[in-house]
């Protein structure tokens, strides 16, 4: 797998092509190779614009490689090159791969603001390069960057292969949030908790996100910000994320903690230019929000991390700041955890005058006003919670997507029981539906039922912005029976959206 980010507004003069490259993974690839990947990408972006000026190149499909394109910001492109012989399962999952790129970008913007603004702030490109490199490597490898890049440690990388989306993932949807279904009573409790939380901050313009396990309970953020923050929370903040980090990475953590800066310069040995690229900003402490195992639960219940350093005066961790996409407003991110309940409170930086001190006051307020409510909400939600398989519907393997933002699916363990043929057929069908969606925008009703070679029914339905994908392996032979099963599911779990009028 290769992943690069380049800016078409840079390096347009001969001899300065390297200036285009903002990021390239793996970094130890010779520059000639890096430039050739970017050259081909750039060439095809220009070429396709002849015919399709509004939507330039999205994918190059070759016999051995797929190049997946994503224009993250205008003229800033992310391109992922997948080797089909090595990543055969990921091949052809173009839409899923593009969603990976989209996710990386939205997470980056959440913590660092847009790439363009960073480039404008520091035109040499050194700043953004020094940020992108650790950020994306953390994201991709799920491990500290220095293990990926030192040639000697190469076997670490091969030993832990990157998990790219594959056809096995066709019953899930990246870039959406998963919601917890809550009863009426619990919903009212949550509602009042949210009110108390936002009042505690003492300002009206703060936002909150409530999660139970890895599921969203409530949000007052815009949909896009919700998705970014939810993604981050599930990656690094929820109890599940905290514990998995502790178990699988503790060894690496212990032996290498603190060696971050020397490692950064080690990786740059591969070339003199990259030396400049990555070292130039070393003194200006690059924050790595996706760095593993850096979040822990403090004694007060608030989550803390040393990623952003420690406050000189109080010896407490510095609270991270995130950017809201629409308003570009900067917000302090405070996360509180009680058992399975994770609460994220975003407080405008502008409303807190004296930094960490001011924040700790806010936190105190929250604890005073809301801790009881949080206990109650947690208890209520736990009672109603059906466990891992809460959303399993026996006999069905399904994915339900609402407005491309919210999704619910059969639990992964249940999806695993499906035959490879069924999954391949569904993943192919999803591709077809994606094409139709692109053509017609959401408003169309579409119903496709395919009986695959192995006898499984693979079904896709779209209606009023909702999508339903389903595999029925044990359904009977007839189309009518399969259609009937969908109808029943639709009536019971989708309030009849997919039922025929």
């Amino acid at each position: 797998m290769q992943l690069c980010i380049f800016d078409l507004r840079r390096g347009q003069q001969e001899g300065q092509e390297l200036d285009k490259i903002l990021f390239f993974f793996p970094a130890d690839l010779p520059f000639a190779t890096q430039l050739s990947v970017i050259g081909l990408s750039e060439g095809l972006i220009t070429f396709t614009r002849i015919f399709s000026p509004d939507a330039a190149c999205e994918v190059i499909e070759a016999e051995r490689h797929s190049h997946v394109f994503y224009e993250a910001e205008s003229d800033i492109w992310m391109v992922m090159v997948v080797d089909k012989s090595k990543e055969s399962k990921a091949a052809c999952q173009v839409d899923a791969l593009r969603k990976v790129l989209k996710e990386v970008h939205s997470l980056f913007v959440l913590f660092h603001g847009t790439m363009r603004s960073m480039l404008e702030k520091e035109t040499s490109g050194g700043l953004i390069r020094s940020h992108l490199y650790p950020f994306i490597t953390d994201y991709l490898s799920g491990k500290p960057l220095f293990y990926c890049s030192i040639p000697k440690a190469a076997d670490f990388l091969t030993g832990r292969k990157l998990q790219l989306p594959s056809f096995h993932d066709c019953l899930m949807e990246r870039g959406t949030v998963q919601m917890l279904t809550v009863g009426r009573e619990a919903a009212i409790e949550v509602q009042s908790l949210v009110k108390v939380l936002e009042c505690s901050a003492g300002t009206t313009s703060c936002y909150s996100l409530v999660l139970f396990q890895d599921l969203l309970v409530s949000t007052t953020l815009s949909p896009d910000d919700t998705i970014s923050l939810f993604t981050y929370a599930v990656l690094r903040l929820t109890p599940h994320a905290l514990s998995s980090g502790a178990t699988s990475w503790s060894y690496l953590q212990r032996t290498n903690a603190g060696s971050q800066v020397p490692a950064l310069s080690t990786i740059t040995n591969s070339g003199s230019v990259s030396d400049n690229i990555y070292r130039s900003q070393n003194n200006c402490q690059v924050k790595r929000p996706l760095h593993h195992n850096r979040w822990f639960r403090g004694n007060d219940g608030f989550l803390a991390s040393d990623i952003w350093g420690t406050d000189n005066g109080s010896q407490t961790s510095v609270t991270p700041i995130v950017y809201l996409q629409l308003t570009e407003e900067r917000m302090y991110l405070c996360a509180y955890q009680h058992k399975s309940l994770t609460i994220i409170l975003l407080v405008p930086v502008s409303s807190i005058l004296n930094g960490e001190q001011g924040l700790s006051l806010v936190k105190q307020q929250v604890l005073e006003n809301a801790s009881l409510k949080m206990l109650m909400v947690e208890e209520k939600l736990s009672k109603g919670w059906g466990g891992e398989n809460a959303y399993h519907v026996s006999g069905y393997r399904y994915l339900l997507v609402d407005d491309e933002r919210v999704s619910r699916a059969s639990p992964p363990a249940k999806v695993m029981t499906l035959a490879k043929e069924s999954l391949l057929a569904l993943s192919k069908l999803r591709e077809e539906v994606n094409l139709e969606k692109k053509r017609a925008k959401c408003s169309n009703k579409l119903e496709i039922c395919v009986r695959a070679k192995n006898g499984a029914w693979v079904i896709a339905r779209t209606s009023r912005g909702k999508e339903l994908y389903m595999v029925l392996e044990k359904a009977s032979e007839t189309l009518l029976y399969a259609a009937d099963s969908v109808e029943k599911f639709s009536n019971r779990y989708c309030s009849g959206v997919f039922s025929l009028d």
């Binding site: 396709t48 399709s52 994918v59 499909e61 139709e436 009703k445 119903e447 025929l500």
Partner: protein, 635 residues
């Protein structure tokens, strides 16, 4: 490529060819071919002789030798030739004075020579000159036709997004479109479906829209993309951007590219490129690869001169001829005995040294071909794609289409043997019905002529031709007849069929009108017999009555076909698909494939029942709608 239509020889009985005004180059052309008809390859290039030898070894006749000679000639003249451009007739004339010694062969002239090399064996071979003269003249008249086509090109525009597409297929006229455009024109960029053929050195060979010469730069870009990826040890298949797809197909030294925003799946587009390549092989054989081995800068446009009408007709057919994606051919419905009679006489002929004998007819609308009967010599089998390409070649070339004329032309069947030329004798019995006799022998003209006379006598005696005409008028299966059929034979059940329980007021109104589809909202169907390599398609009926709607339905079928046959996991067994336009039902079994289109509001249960009825119906009449038994595949 020139825009004149001069793709094949035609020993036409045109009574007064000389009366037609001849453009300068045509006059020159006939004089040149006269010189050439001496049969002397005027060249000192040793490799040419070598080529001739190779060609002969492969069993192709003199024709291809001449063709290759010309190829080489042009290879040498390449650059100057290109610079000349179109309409520099005077310069050519001047050059022509110096004779054929230096390999003076021009694009149009060349193509004429290349494809009419069999003239020595033509009916007027008592005097080669006479035969040549008349063909030169006929090409002149064809050039006139071409210019007429140019005038109405806007009306005839088929896929053009900018200009309104015609709603009737009848308005489509073959030939090159929009020659004035190039890649800088907005209108060119907005065309929905481009096709390009180029050489691996980036030389343009064919472009569906625009002038190839003006597209040299664009062509070089395409070449650069392909070779850039190739240099990385890979091969580019397609590029997607928005609704656009750029599909690449590399065939040795030939690159084919399609740029489309028609939403056809990649698999369909690449299959279409394969057919375009096949069409080129049909005209030139695959031995042209050697020309590229010898001279990578080889310019083959002159070889294909005048054949762009063949390519445009093929590309046009992709939008409405299901044979292109089904890889099957259609038969004209005929009483079993009639087809038997036709088959018997063809078989007679086949036993006397004819490789394939095909009796075909033109569909009422457009130029789709339907087989009346076909017979192959022992063990020889004809691939449906070859039939499509052969039919397209013959029907799109004006020269073949003159009733009562007879033509003899070298052609290659890419699926049968891509390396060698066969020789096709073509004769039209009437405006719609024609006979193709294929042989490996280049001197078989008189024999084939005799065969044709025998066949014609029998066909007239046994009334086959009148039956053909009647059938052409009557058309094929109609979905409306399905309900009638059911009422006659299955009484009570048909009443259920007629009243789908999801009926909306609109539907009741529709089904109460005559000619609005068949039972349960059935609008159309395609049935492909897997063993026979044949398909039958119902006649279009309301509401699928405009060309635009028919094209949309074919595209939907095509998409369904690809979806059902998806690589690696296919074929699927069944598919039901409902969108805003149709309910489509597809059923694939080892014996047959059924594709049916219904009203988008059709009831699922009734649609399934109706599909079963269609299958039964087809089986009931298969004697009449398919060519059984006598097919070459049973040998």
């Amino acid at each position: 490529m020139s825009s004149s239509d001069s793709s094949s020889s035609s020993a036409s009985d045109d009574p007064n060819p000389k009366l037609k005004p001849q453009p300068l180059e045509s006059q020159f052309q006939s004089s040149l071919t006269l010189e050439d008809s001496d049969g002397v390859a005027r060249t000192d290039d040793a490799s040419v002789a070598e080529q001739q030898q190779e060609q002969q070894d492969e069993g192709s006749g003199n024709g291809s030798v001449d063709g290759v000679v010309n190829v080489e000639d042009n290879g040498h003249r390449d650059s100057s030739d290109r610079e000349e451009g179109i309409g520099s007739g005077e310069a050519r004339d001047g050059d022509g004075g110096s004779g054929g010694g230096g390999g003076v062969v021009w694009r149009r002239a060349n193509s004429e020579v290349e494809l009419e090399v069999e003239a020595p064996a033509s009916p007027s071979s008592s005097g080669y000159a006479g035969g040549r003269g008349s063909s030169g003249a006929s090409s002149a008249s064809r050039a006139d036709d071409a210019s007429e086509e140019d005038e109405i090109e806007v009306v005839g525009n088929d896929d053009g997004g900018a200009v309104g597409a015609p709603d009737s297929q009848a308005e489509w006229t073959p030939g090159k479109r929009h020659v004035d455009e190039d890649d800088a024109s907005i209108s060119w960029r907005k065309r929905k479906k481009h096709f390009f053929i180029l050489s691996n050195s980036g030389k343009p060979i064919y472009s569906r829209y625009g002038d190839e010469h003006k597209l040299a730069g664009f062509s070089a870009t395409l070449q650069a993309i392909i070779s850039f990826v190739e240099n990385g040890g890979d091969r580019v298949k397609y590029v997607k951007a928005g609704m656009h797809q750029v599909v690449f197909l590399v065939k040795g030294p030939i690159y084919l590219v399609c740029i489309s925003c028609t939403e056809e799946p990649f698999e369909s587009l690449v299959a279409q490129l394969e057919l375009v390549y096949g069409q080129m092989i049909l005209i030139l054989t695959k031995s042209l690869n050697r020309c590229f081995e010898k001279n990578p800068k080889f310019d083959m446009t002159p070889l294909l001169g005048g054949t762009d009408v063949v390519f445009s007709a093929l590309i046009h057919s992709f939008s409405w001829n299901p044979a292109a994606f089904l890889h099957a051919y259609a038969c004209l419905p005929l009483p079993y005995a009639t087809r038997q009679a036709a088959g018997a006489i063809l078989q007679d002929v086949a036993d006397s040294g004819v490789l394939f004998a095909l009796l075909m007819c033109k569909h009422r609308v457009g130029t789709s071909l339907k087989v009346i009967s076909l017979v192959g010599a022992q063990k020889a089998s004809l691939h449906p794609d070859d039939m499509l390409l052969l039919g397209n070649f013959i029907m799109s070339s004006e020269s073949f289409r003159q009733v009562t004329s007879e033509s003899f032309s070298p052609i290659c069947l890419p699926r049968y043997n891509p390396m060698a030329f066969l020789h096709a004798y073509v004769h039209y019995f009437d405006a719609d019905t024609y006979l193709i006799l294929l042989t490996t022998r280049s001197d078989a003209f008189y024999h084939l002529k005799d065969c044709r006379i025998r066949i014609e006598t029998v066909l007239l005696k046994s009334n086959v031709l009148s039956e053909v005409q009647r059938s052409t008028l009557d058309g094929g299966m109609r979905v409306e007849d399905l309900s009638v059929d059911l009422q006659q034979h299955t009484g009570s059940t048909s009443r259920v069929e007629d009243k789908p329980h999801t009926e909306t007021p609109e539907r009741i109104r529709e089904s109460s009108l005559v000619g609005l589809g068949g039972p349960a909202g059935l609008w159309h169907f395609l049935y492909r017999s897997v063993y026979l390599d044949q398909y039958v398609s119902s006649e279009f009926s309301s509401p699928i009555n405009t060309h635009r709607q028919q094209k949309r339905l074919y595209r939907a079928y095509q998409k369904l076909y690809v979806s059902m046959h998806s690589k690696g996991i296919g074929p699927h067994k069944t598919q039901f698909r409902r969108d805003e336009n149709y309910v489509l039902l597809c059923w694939v079994t080892p014996d047959f494939e059924l594709y049916a289109a219904f009203d988008p509001l059709a009831d699922k249960a009734l649609a399934i029942k109706t599909c079963n009825k269609v299958c039964q119906w087809v089986k009931d009449v298969e004697n009449e709608i398919f060519l059984l038994g006598a097919s070459p595949f049973s040998w």
